[in-house]
């Protein structure tokens, strides 16, 4: 495919949750990463050397 072209033959993948409620797979991945970071930030202990 030409780099400046449009990928009309390969549309984005969506997860249709319910009727018109849907989320694209890349957005879903980013949301999951965001949640994991948030939970990780709360539960993963901070390095002790920095805590001093």
């Amino acid at each position: 495919m030409d780099t400046l072209g449009v990928a009309l033959d390969s549309p984005a993948q969506y997860w249709q949750i319910w009727e018109w409620v849907q989320v694209s797979i890349p957005n879903l991945i980013w949301l999951v990463v965001m949640l994991l970071l948030f939970v990780g930030a709360l539960v993963i202990p901070f390095p002790k050397s920095a805590a001093k």
């Binding site: 970071l37 948030f38 709360l42 920095a50 805590a51």
Partner: protein, 239 residues
């Protein structure tokens, strides 16, 4: 000094007088500024003395990963602004056709992704920490305004890529703008307006809001976690 002055005559008197005058000017500047620059410096030093502005130590509770995301957001924003400035100087053809241009274009895109990712985690952390406690309402509000300005900047950035998705989103959002009465002043189908908003007005506005946000954090200090305070102190802070 006065004994020397009386003993040595006029020259010494002059020196003594000038020292005295200089001293009085110094006192006036420190205690009661008479110029707007002096007043501004006085107010700045009272509000944000150097040890608050650039502190070397932070409270113990800051040693938590949840406190990292504010700075991570700022670092991403610096990357966004820097790569955006290079893209602006290089021009559309350069960043679409040369390998370095494409790299900077990708850097701009991915630093925006990280900027929003870190900003949202920062927002969640501060929301569940009730970070507006302890007279930090303005800090919270400037953060909220910075978030909204970021959404606007990202939206205009999406629209000016002018690819198929961008055109689709522009013409969908055009109806939204018209529906809320903003269509006359915010025309998403006007590429020139979108470019100027994206590369000029919105980044400048966002930068100023972020600077204000950071200065307020410096002024009031980093908000302590809820469990760091006893319940009575928490009630007093919320009130």
């Amino acid at each position: 000094m006065s004994a020397d002055s009386s003993a040595t005559g006029t020259d010494s008197m002059t020196v003594s007088g000038s020292v005295s005058t200089a001293g009085s000017i110094s006192v006036m500047t420190e205690d009661a500024p008479t110029t707007w620059t002096g007043s501004l410096r006085h107010k700045w030093m009272r509000t944000l003395p150097p040890d608050k502005m650039l502190p070397e130590r932070q409270p113990a509770y800051v040693t938590s990963w949840i406190y990292v995301f504010g700075m991570a957001t700022i670092v991403s924003l610096i990357l966004v602004l820097g790569s955006g400035a290079i893209l602006t100087l290089g021009g559309v053809e350069w960043f679409h056709t040369s390998s370095l241009g494409r790299f900077v274009n990708s850097l701009h895109f991915w630093s925006v992704q990280l900027f929003f990712l870190f900003m949202i985690v920062h927002l969640w952390g501060k929301f569940w920490m009730a970070a507006w406690r302890g007279k930090r309402a303005m800090t919270w509000m400037t953060g909220a305004v910075a978030f909204l300005a970021s959404v606007g900047t990202a939206f205009t950035g999406y629209v000016i890529t002018t690819n198929f998705n961008a055109q689709w989103i522009a013409f969908e959002s055009k109806d939204v703008m018209n529906a809320v009465g903003l269509g006359a002043i915010f025309n998403v189908a006007d590429l020139g307006q979108m470019i100027l908003l994206h590369v000029c007005l919105l980044p400048a506005g966002l930068g100023l809001i972020v600077i204000m946000h950071v200065l307020l954090v410096r002024k009031h200090g980093v908000v302590p976690p809820l469990e760091a305070l006893d319940p009575d102190a928490q009630k007093a802070q919320v009130a």
